[in-house]
């Protein structure tokens, strides 16, 4: 099933959706495969598999340290699609790749899209690519029927929200706050504003909220006005501190908010 079908299905049954991020190659490729499979088995609805990058300007310290370690341990794009395939062959959960733009540009947009498709990926989230500059990726993803997630933020104008809604497939990533990834105690009220702004465009594409979500209460709260909650740093912290078991527990705990 596509990401959009999964999220729409959950929504029609009035169930919450949990989208989980984990970086490929952290701490090694083999470890990241096991961690991602465990997350899927423990209840996340969509997996967001990160491509480690040297300059992750939208990420807070937890993700920065994890992706830095993955790179230090030899993460390479040449091995990335094997990692992706190893995950998609073991789980039904759809997998979106999350990558900053320069690695894709160097690999080749079309080639990246083809290899992603061949490895069973559902599509891609591009945090530093705006629709205005995404012509190549839009063309490739249309051709290969891949989903593409763009970001909507508290500072986006109505006109920009419309553009994001128009080109996104899978879901629209509503950034909850003006800031970078990492757990926050209080979710910004701005999250609701962004979601209602996107919904006001009349889009049928689900809207999910990310950045700063770390508790089951927050997951529940977000799902009351949006179509899913995106969680990353907390999962990495759980894995870092307590391995696969702790990771499973935290996923179940956040999913239990349902």
């Amino acid at each position: 099933m596509t990401v959009q079908e999964i999220l729409s299905g959950l929504d029609s049954r009035d169930e919450s959706a949990l989208i989980g991020y984990f970086p490929a190659g952290y701490p090694t490729s083999a470890d990241s495969i096991e961690a991602c499979v465990a997350m899927c088995e423990s209840g996340i609805d969509v997996l967001e598999l990160g491509v480690p990058y040297s300059d992750p300007v939208m990420d807070g310290l937890v993700i920065q340290e994890a992706t830095e370690m993955a790179l230090a341990n030899g993460f390479k794009l040449s091995g990335f699609f094997e990692t992706l395939k190893a995950i998609t062959s073991r789980v039904e959960t759809p997998v979106l790749v999350m990558s900053y733009w320069n690695p894709i540009l160097q690999y080749g947009v079309q080639r990246f899209a083809e290899d992603l498709k061949a490895a069973g990926g559902a599509g891609m989230i591009t945090p530093d690519l705006i629709p205005d500059e995404a012509a190549d990726w839009i063309r490739a993803s249309d051709e290969l029927d891949l989903e593409r997630v763009f970001l909507a933020t508290p500072s986006s104008s109505d006109k920009r929200l419309e553009q994001v809604a128009k080109v996104s497939k899978g879901f629209i990533y509503a950034v909850s706050t003006m800031g970078i990834t990492g757990a926050r105690e209080d979710l910004d009220a701005k999250a609701r504003t962004v979601v209602s702004g996107v919904k006001a465009t009349g889009t049928k594409v689900p809207v999910c909220v990310g950045i700063g979500i770390s508790t089951s209460d927050q997951v529940l709260e977000v799902n009351s006005y949006a179509d899913g909650a995106i969680v990353g740093s907390v999962f990495i912290k759980a894995y870092r501190d307590g391995g696969i078991d702790k990771l499973r527990n935290v996923v179940q705990e956040l999913k239990a908010g349902n």
């Binding site: 040297s54 690695p103 160097q106 705006i130 970001l151 933020t153």
Partner: protein, 382 residues
């Protein structure tokens, strides 16, 4: 560029477009340049230094004599005025050598703005004196401990801060890289260097130089000089990049000579990167040139073949720094010394009697610890 910053970039562009066509803004900037920065900066001919480069004449555009000791202040004053126009109360800046940080802290003091400067931990050590200057001026200096702990990582941290505080904060980017409108706007504020030089050469000497030369890290002082000469087809443009320990080693910052086109910090330009698009750490003895990217306009000038870019090693730069100090009594910054070394190295390729104008972009006071160690004036060294 992340969507989160698009609104701020649009606001900045609109503010800048309105300001540059507003006579009161233009007049205020000109007045500050005159009475605060100390413009126009003079041109000094340096015949004894020129003798090291063959039978040519060498002129220095003395940006080192600007207030705060480098060209960086030109851009900072302009952007600080824009910050006020946007009603923002806080500026953040990245700095490598510390010159842009010092200039930003200076403007913040002058205009009553809060100022936070991000500086790679490696650079806070090799430019400790500038850290003290920024603190004295009232700025907060945050050492960046992620990534390579140099200029590119300072820019990453500044961008993260900006995303979170964009409502009251202007990111006062210090070079001609980064997302639009920074490359154009920063160039415009520095273009005073070239326009003054052009007029001074014609007025005082009656000719234009055959070559204008500058060091290139991000490329702000070079583009500031080059811009006014773009249409003078007979004037060659020479840029000198940091070749560090050598162009054929992995330890250099010669982006235009050794890089490939990629995207970093919202600009598409030449970039030092591996086959996966991961940014590669640059190396230079000069913190200000230690950046794996370069302004997109330099990439354009290179591809057009309008400008030539050469690599200069750490050792060549240090020897040129010493040479200018001892032949002319002018101590340049290590960054600037790359341009001086380039002229010594390539000046002999010019016809006898040719003239070169070098942008003396900064003074060397901040580098005394590195210089002292290198030449053995302070403890152990070469």
């Amino acid at each position: 560029m992340p969507e989160s910053l698009i609104a701020a970039l649009d606001e900045l562009e609109a503010t800048y477009e309105a300001a540059k066509n507003d006579p009161s803004f233009v007049a205020e900037l000109a007045e500050l340049n005159k009475s605060y920065v100390g413009r126009p900066s003079i041109i000094t001919e340096v015949p004894k230094f020129a003798a090291l480069a063959g039978n040519i004449r060498v002129f220095l555009k003395r940006e080192d004599l600007n207030h705060t000791g480098s060209h960086k202040i030109n851009n900072v004053i302009g952007q600080a005025l824009l910050t006020k126009r946007m009603g923002k109360t806080r500026i953040i800046a990245e700095t490598g050598a510390g010159q842009h940080g010092v200039a930003s802290a200076t403007a913040a003091a002058l205009f009553g703005l809060e100022c936070v400067v991000y500086m790679g931990e490696v650079d806070t050590e090799r430019q400790a004196l500038n850290v003290a200057r920024m603190k004295l001026l009232g700025a907060e200096v945050i050492p960046v401990t992620t990534g390579s702990r140099t200029l590119k990582d300072a820019i990453n941290e500044a961008l993260r801060d900006w995303v979170a505080n964009v409502d009251n904060t202007h990111y006062l980017l210090g070079t001609v890289a980064g997302p639009h409108p920074f490359p154009t706007m920063v160039r415009d504020f520095h273009s005073v260097i070239g326009f003054e030089s052009r007029e001074q050469m014609l007025q005082d000497y009656g000719f234009l130089p055959d070559v204008v030369a500058a060091c290139v890290g991000g490329g702000s002082n070079a583009i500031g000089l080059f811009h006014a000469f773009l249409d003078d087809e007979d004037v060659k443009l020479w840029g000198f990049e940091a070749a560090g320990e050598g162009m054929n080693t992995l330890k250099h910052a010669a982006t235009l000579n050794k890089g490939k086109v990629g995207v970093l910090h919202g600009a598409k330009s030449y970039l030092l990167q591996d086959e996966d698009g991961q940014t590669v750490e640059s190396h230079s003895i000069s913190a200000g040139l230690d950046y794996p990217g370069v302004g997109p306009e330099h990439s354009w000038l290179k591809d057009l073949d309008r400008a030539q870019y050469f690599g200069i090693s750490d050792d060549e730069a240090m020897q040129a720094l010493k040479a200018l100090s001892q032949t002319e009594g002018i101590i340049p910054a290590i960054e600037t010394a790359h341009a001086l070394a380039g002229v010594i190295k390539h000046g002999s390729e010019l016809a006898k009697g040719s003239s070169i104008l070098i942008n003396l972009s900064g003074r060397g006071d901040k580098d005394m610890e590195t210089v002292g160690k290198y030449f053995g004036f302070l403890g152990s060294g070469k």
